[in-house]
């Protein structure tokens, strides 16, 4: 008996925590819900904007790789036109 929920209609990265690089100062990390024409739909996501906050981009990514991110955005859509790359956080 399979004891887990499954989501066969979603993008292959559904449920995977991803890093979404953009063409601007923002980098997003969150659990990929789906990738559709509008962009990358993230759940429980957080964003880093270079030049803001206490941590540099590298520090923020390094901490995220080790521990994950705080879910400051329950849902976010990173517009497709802004997305440069999507990769698994675990593969950083």
């Amino acid at each position: 008996m399979r004891t887990f929920a499954h989501h066969e209609h979603k993008h292959e990265l559904h449920g995977i925590t991803v890093v979404v690089e953009t063409d601007g100062p923002e980098v997003w990390i969150g659990r990929c819900d789906d990738i559709v024409g509008d962009g990358v739909i993230l759940k429980d996501a957080d964003v880093h904007r270079e030049g803001e906050g206490e941590r540099t981009r590298a520090e923020w990514l390094g901490r995220a790789k080790r521990w994950g991110v705080h879910p400051n955005h329950r849902r976010a859509v990173v517009p497709a036109a802004r997305v440069v790359a999507v990769r698994r956080l675990a593969e950083l």
Binding site: T3, F4, H14, G15, V69
Partner: protein, 142 residues
């Protein structure tokens, strides 16, 4: 709103069958965490199969042989919400994720496996991470 008991039942039972103590309330968490001596594994169980579907078999595999924690416990995210929150308070500044796993030794958090390091891996890989942690922090069975 928490998940239906019917939905989570098989996922809970998968760990209960492996000998896990289920922590269903903040008081349960406090009671277990008050036992400072030795090692305690806390598995934050989850309904989504994208990661939890490998987490549960992984932890069951890891417990089959070799060093193991003195206490193996679990909370269920999205079901036993208050117990999960209380357990996460023990994880310090680590962001919440589920499934995830925490190992305490003598009351201190010594190892943590967040969700994103479970996703996309198979049960054997998850089990190996756990075995490595148990080998480092847990006593060898007599």
């Amino acid at each position: 709103m928490s998940y239906s008991p019917i939905l989570v039942r098989p996922m809970r039972e998968e760990l209960l069958a492996a000998g896990f103590e289920e922590l269903r309330s903040p008081a349960d968490v406090d009671r277990v965490m008050a036992e400072k001596a030795g090692t305690t594994l806390v598995v934050v169980n989850s309904v989504c199969g994208c990661a939890a579907g490998m987490a549960r078999p992984g932890v069951r595999l890891a417990l089959q042989e070799g060093p193991r924690p003195d206490r193996i416990t679990t909370v269920f995210a999205g079901f036993d919400v208050e117990a999960t929150q209380r357990a996460r308070e023990r994880f310090g500044d680590i962001p919440p994720s589920s499934p995830s796993m925490a190992l305490f030794k003598d009351g201190e958090l010594v190892w943590f496996l967040p969700r994103h390091r479970i996703e996309g891996r198979d049960a054997l890989a998850v089990a190996q991470d756990l075995r490595d942690a148990f080998a480092e922090h847990c006593a060898v069975p007599a």
